[in-house]
Amino acid sequence: MAVSDADVLHVAALARLAMPVERVPGLVRELNGILDHMAVLETVDVSSVGADARTPMPRRTDVVAPIPLLRPLAEFAPAPRDGFLLVPRLSTHSQLGASEGDE
């Protein structure tokens, strides 16, 4: 399963990393080298491996007790305004009105 230039560009886009074209061939080569080393996993028989036996999850009592912020958000946020966090508008929203973003 060799990694292609297109794979690297696709994955960089998913990860929101700008990817200058001149970096692509080097990354493709490195990734293929690393993934070649992973190929050994294909040969491992894992049929005997059962469900994970990790300790079950602890749960916290439902009380309002946030870990305090020793500095307020507005002090460290890059673009605070009226309590909000501002970000550049999505290009697809440039001429749109309000709509709730649940992605």
Binding site: L85, H93, G101
Partner: protein, 487 residues
């Protein structure tokens, strides 16, 4: 099916609908941190290192969120997975602080449920398959129209616990979808797991709709419709999207899979912004959270706290020989029943109690906007009032006056009746005196009545009641007149 014109493009097509319902769970604190879930706080006030996704912060699961999710699962008859797994759903969006949403993916807490939504138009009972219910956290809010060129992010909602309930594509009309949603909401309100308030967003519905020619068994290409803020909005949006898809198919085109937004103001559907980049959520098990294990004991405990659900309550009330109308009214809201029954325990006449609860009490609540849990009239006082009516001490019309006064007074119904002169007069002499007066003042009618014209009795009773200023016991007046007619 919403057919509007004879030349409807939808003719010959069947609608297929599946619904995803997001329900905000009623917890004090968020799913994975100790921040308040209060609605309406100033922007970003309810945030902490965890829900701001500060470096090094870790989630810890809220026990009550699990309990409420189990109530949903058990209440809807799901199979509860004893071990469920949280996963990360990875995508970038400004209101998703961690760059992933903690959700459940291939091992949700509850699976394989169903929902009985009543009888279809052609008389067939409709049971809708419910695929799964999984726990997840809410995202924050992005506001796009407040600042020029910028999106404003408020993370107060970020991390509020949700259960997402996903149905099978089993619904065939907007009405069925509406019935599913109303049935589901009613059960959720009975389970007391959520406010289920669509305006405030504590219940949100996404619909997957497709169209296919009748008789075809494979599914057509589905589109997702979002942004409806009422159940009727869902029904309208489904009809509109179905018409759109049928139009595409009739014109020989193919439906493209896409997400659409319902505009409730314009009553129209429009394509959503395309997601930035392709969606590949790269789910993997959340390494910060071990598997969620539900023990036998826990399941038994939560099961034991489940309230009576609407169907069971309806059946019980129907067995009291209450009318279909009374049963529906008494069970529509989960807290009507408890009030009804606490009155009934003191005044054992279901029909009479139902009449009053669905009549005067409900009217008063509608007037004041109070909830059933806040009815200002104690059940014992209403029961005493009904006792007075049953025992003929006050008339029904007097009881209504007393009811109004009970709401603004601490006096007993009896005291009010006496104070206001509403106790029915049952003294034979007094009654006979009024009857005599009425007969004397209306000699023509009196003569006809005496001659056997029985239908005049009602008129005469009315005149006696008027003469007595409503205080005479009409039953006794009737008896008296009957005896006069035959005497």
């Amino acid at each position: 099916m919403s057919t509007e014109t004879a030349a409807d493009v939808t003719a010959g097509f069947e609608m297929v609908v599946g619904l995803e319902v997001h329900v905000q769970l009623k917890t004090r604190s968020k799913a994975f941190c100790g921040c308040s879930t209060n609605f309406g706080a100033p922007p970003n006030q309810n945030t902490c290192p965890i829900c701001l996704a500060l470096p090094g912060a870790l989630p810890v699961l809220n026990a009550t969120a699990v309990e409420l999710a189990l109530r949903v699962g058990l209440g809807l008859g799901f199979t509860i997975n004893r071990t469920s797994v949280f996963a990360r759903k990875n995508y970038f969006y400004p209101d998703l602080p961690k760059g992933y949403q903690i959700s459940q993916h291939d091992r949700p807490i509850a699976e394989h449920g169903s929902l009985d939504i009543g009888i279809s138009v052609d008389g067939v009972p409709r049971v809708i398959g419910v695929t799964r219910a999984h726990m997840e956290e809410d995202a924050g809010k992005s506001i796009h129209d407040r600042y020029e060129g910028a999106t404003a992010v408020d993370l107060n909602r970020s991390g509020v616990p949700l259960v997402e309930i996903v149905s099978e594509p089993d619904m065939r009309s907007p009405e069925e979808a509406g019935a599913y949603l109303r049935t589901l909401k009613q059960i959720l309100l009975y389970l007391d797991v959520s406010d289920c308030n669509m305006e405030e967003g504590s219940l949100r519905v996404d619909a997957n709709v497709s169209a296919r020619p009748f008789g075809q068994t494979t599914l057509g290409t589905k589109c997702e419709v979002k942004n409806m803020n009422s159940f009727s909005g869902v029904e309208k949006a489904l009809a509109a999207e179905f018409r759109r898809q049928c139009g595409v198919l009739v014109a020989g085109g193919t439906v493209q899979q896409q997400t659409l937004l319902w505009d409730g103001h314009k009553n129209e559907i429009r394509p959503a912004r395309s997601k930035e980049g392709s969606s590949d959520y790269r789910y993997f098990p959340e390494p910060d959270l071990p598997p969620l294990v539900v023990s036998d004991a826990e399941l038994t405990r939560v099961g034991a706290t489940l309230p009576e659900l609407p169907a069971a309550r309806r059946a019980r009330y129907a067995a009291m020989k209450l009318s279909e109308y009374d049963v529906q009214e008494l069970t529509a809201d989960p807290s009507t029943g408890p009030y009804f029954e606490s009155v009934l325990r003191l005044h054992d006449d279901p029909k009479a109690v139902a009449n009053w609860v669905n009549g005067e009490v409900r009217a008063n609540l509608n007037e004041t906007g109070a909830a059933w849990s806040q009815v200002s009239l104690a059940p014992s006082r209403l029961a005493s009032l009904l006792d007075l009516v049953r025992d003929g001490i006050v008339s029904s019309s007097a009881a209504k006056k007393i009811f109004a006064l009970l709401l603004v007074s601490d006096a007993t119904p009896r005291e009010i009746a006496e104070r206001e002169g509403l106790v029915q007069v049952r003294d034979d002499n007094a009654l006979a005196g009024w009857v005599d007066q009425v007969l004397a003042e209306n000699p023509a009618e009196a003569a006809r009545f005496a001659a056997g014209e029985k239908k005049l009795q009602g008129l005469l009773v009315g005149l006696v009641m008027k003469k007595s200023q409503g205080r005479a016991d009409p039953k006794l007046v009737n008896q008296l007149l009957t005896s006069r007619a035959s005497g």
